[in-house]
């Protein structure tokens, strides 16, 4: 094909900067953002993509649907609190749930390395089935590819999901207003550190369990109670910091967080200190930011705390209209600083 500059599309990421894809391009931080904005968005441009939400919102006749997809490549395959299968189901359900949709149907695509133990695959699949059942979701279609040994790391799973929006609330970054409060439904950073602890040969005995969970039930409870939710965002790769920065950018507001109010498990905090990793950049898989108007805050918090996925819910900050910095962190000693997105790959420091 003729790739002459005049006729064909030209890769908009300067090749001199990144001649090859780095791991950091998949880390959920600034390089991932660049890849999205400059490469995928440039090629696939559509009104839904431009919304930059985890789920695309579609109207079919009069029905409002949410549609999303996610791929899972986690190593180790099994970790305290879950496995690649349960994660693949939770992750896609959460993208739908935080779009305000009730998840209905999932697909499951497998890329399997030859030699994977059949028992391992069975355990993963059973876990997916149980997770989906518990969330009231059906896995209705799928695909399997097997590749030669060494061409992938045991098994990768892609899930796509469809959900229906059965309310008249408009939930999304565009609804975020100065004065809104920001709630999180529990302690943050646990999934990232559970994986790190299980993966790295650190010689630590860790009891850190992933927070992976399906958020559909807890979101549905808020919607059923008529809470005027402005925005929901599940915290995944890149953690609280990346989610907060994305929302601040998408809503053109400033998000102000109080460090002393953000719930962090002490084992997770300790692990982060030792590795030199910022807990606000550590992944979660069962946590979300819930952004509500001030008048709804107390009622929302009460409902959340009654839910098993929300006992530790806390108001961690607020939305302001000072547009100087996307996310401001009020530190434990009362000073103010920038909370930036994860830049590049999460690397432990040396001393």
């Amino acid at each position: 094909m003729n790739r002459d500059k005049t006729f064909g599309p030209v890769c908009p990421i300067p090749i001199s900067d990144y001649p090859v894809v780095l791991l950091a391009h998949g880390g959920g931080g600034t390089l991932t953002g660049q890849l999205m904005d400059k490469l995928f968005m440039a090629a696939f441009d559509s009104p839904q993509l431009r919304n930059k939400t985890d789920s695309a919102l579609l109207t079919v006749n009069t029905d409002k649907l949410a549609f999303t997809t996610d791929s899972f490549v986690v190593s180790p395959l099994f970790f305290p609190g879950g496995n690649i299968g349960s994660l693949a189901v939770h992750g896609t359900i959460n993208d739908l749930a935080t779009a305000g949709a009730k998840p209905l149907y999932l697909s499951a695509g497998f890329i399997i390395e030859e030699g994977l133990s059949m028992t391992t695959l069975w355990d993963i699949v059973v876990s997916m089935a149980e997770t989906a059942r518990a969330a009231g979701v059906s896995i209705v279609t799928g695909d399997t590819k097997v590749v030669e040994r060494g061409k992938c790391d045991r098994v990768y799973i892609n899930t796509s999901g469809v959900g229906i929006i059965e309310h008249n609330l408009s939930i999304g970054p565009s609804q975020i207003c100065p004065g809104d409060n920001i709630i999180v439904n529990g302690d943050i950073g646990r999934h990232g550190m559970a994986i790190m602890a299980a993966r790295e040969s650190l010689g630590f005995k860790s009891k850190i369990e992933s927070d992976a969970a399906s958020l559909t039930g807890i979101v549905q409870t808020l919607i059923d109670a008529g809470i005027e939710i402005h925005c929901l965002r599940d915290l995944t790769r890149g953690g609280l910091a990346s989610a907060a920065n994305e929302l601040a950018a998408a809503s053109d507001t400033t998000i102000e967080l109080d460090e002393s109010k953000i719930p962090v498990d002490s084992a997770v905090a300790g692990f982060c200190e030792v590795l030199g990793i910022d807990v606000y950049h550590s992944a979660c898989e069962g946590r979300m930011m819930i952004i509500v108007p001030e008048k709804e805050t107390n009622r929302c918090l009460e409902i959340l705390k009654k839910n098993e996925l929300g006992h530790e819910s806390a108001v961690i900050g607020r939305v302001t209209d000072s547009k100087s910095t996307p996310v401001v962190m009020v530190s434990a000693v009362g000073t103010r600083r920038v909370l930036s997105m994860l830049s590049g790959e999460q690397l432990p420091r040396i001393c």
């Binding site: 040969s201 996307p326 830049s343 040396i350």
Partner: protein, 364 residues
């Protein structure tokens, strides 16, 4: 969390800041040596809590930052070789030499592995007898003992395929270099707490005396830093220049004797080039002759060429405390953590990276 919460107590920090404001009468410039301290100061905004008369400047104590570009180019050369497994602390992976970094070498097929200890690299060598395993040994006296331990064990156990690219550096020669520089005017030092856990602080007495400069061994939490700064300012106001330990929960005067013995057994002192500072005499550690067969620079055929460094970047002046990151014309524009031009932007503990991460206002 114990040992964290009580040292991040906002009221205690505030009380100490108020107390300092009541004793300080003259202008003082203090330098914190360690990059970990710089990071904590900027992260917690400690400098914003200080009286106007007390200024903090940031020192050269980030080993990742000061590793010479030439050494990093050597690392990139080794890491790209098909028969090499190159092991490094995570932070070194995105430090550019002249052009690319270890992450790029890995993406292009080099076997580059992150380890948390040189002893892990030794284990990799034992598991891969058909490969040459090289560990990138960087850091101050904090990391030197574990490097020494790995070499010692490799020699004992005859692990012939294990070698080290050594770029260890020493704190005191750097302090003396800064004190002798016409560029900087430092009234007092906050010594690097974690280095002192190994070295102790006897050797600081001579420096404090020679340069008439108080040196306070200081920790890394907000209250630790405030205590260190307060103790240093109190000495300056009283006309003293003594060595004081404000991190006694971790630091003993004599340091860690077995660790020091291990360093002495394996390393000898050498001149070392520091990125941004140039060559400082007797400021580095290299393997002794008896461990030469584990020295990657001696056993590999290396043809290093002198790398080109940015002419805009002022990291050398920043590392000496003569300038602050926002004074650099490239800061936050041509130079960012993803595209660092100089030493102080490359590591999360570099002064420029800390300012970029916590201080830069968005330009939207």
């Amino acid at each position: 969390m114990k040992f964290i919460d009580e040292y991040r107590d906002a009221n205690a920090v505030k009380r100490l800041a108020d107390k300092m404001a009541s004793v300080v009468a003259r202008d003082w410039t203090l330098m914190e040596i360690c990059g970990g301290q710089t990071h904590a100061i900027v992260r917690f905004g400690i400098d914003e809590l200080l009286p106007d008369k007390v200024t903090l400047v940031h020192g050269p104590g980030c080993p990742v930052c000061v590793t010479a570009a030439l050494t990093i180019d050597t690392a990139l050369d080794l890491a790209a070789r098909p028969d090499v497994i190159f092991c490094s602390f995570g932070d070194m992976l995105r430090v550019p030499g002249s052009g690319k970094d270890l992450l790029t070498v890995r993406a292009q097929g080099g076997d580059v592995r992150t380890v948390y200890s040189p002893v892990d690299a030794l284990a990799i060598a034992k598991d891969n007898p058909d490969k040459k395993v090289v560990f990138f040994a960087i850091g101050f006296e904090t990391t030197a003992p574990t490097t020494a331990m790995a070499v010692y064990r490799a020699a004992q156990e005859h692990v012939a395929n294990f070698s080290l690219l050594v770029s260890h550096v020493l704190v005191i020669p750097a302090m003396e270099s800064i004190l002798s520089s016409p560029e900087a005017s430092i009234d007092g030092f906050l010594a690097a707490g974690h280095v002192c856990t190994v070295t102790g602080y006897y050797a600081y007495h001579a420096v404090a005396q020679k340069y008439n400069t108080p040196i306070v061994v200081t920790g890394f939490e907000p209250l630790d830093l405030m205590r260190g700064i307060y103790a240093c300012v109190s000495q300056l106001e009283a006309g003293k220049s003594e060595v004081d330990n404000q991190y006694s929960r971790a630091v003993k005067p004599e340091g860690n004797l077995p660790a020091l013995k291990m360093i002495d057994g394996v390393f000898e002192i050498c001149d070392r080039e520091w990125r941004g500072l140039g060559t400082i005499p007797a400021s580095g550690l290299k393997l002794k002759q008896e461990y030469a067969h584990h020295d990657a620079e001696l056993i590999f055929d290396l043809k290093p060429s002198v790398p080109e460094e940015s002419t805009v970047c002022i990291s050398g002046r920043i590392l000496q405390g003569a300038a602050k990151p926002p004074q650099c014309p490239a800061f936050g524009t041509a130079c960012t953590p993803e595209h660092p031009l100089g030493a102080t932007m490359v590591s999360s503990e570099g002064a420029c990276a800390a300012y970029f991460k916590y201080r830069l206002l968005s330009k939207r």
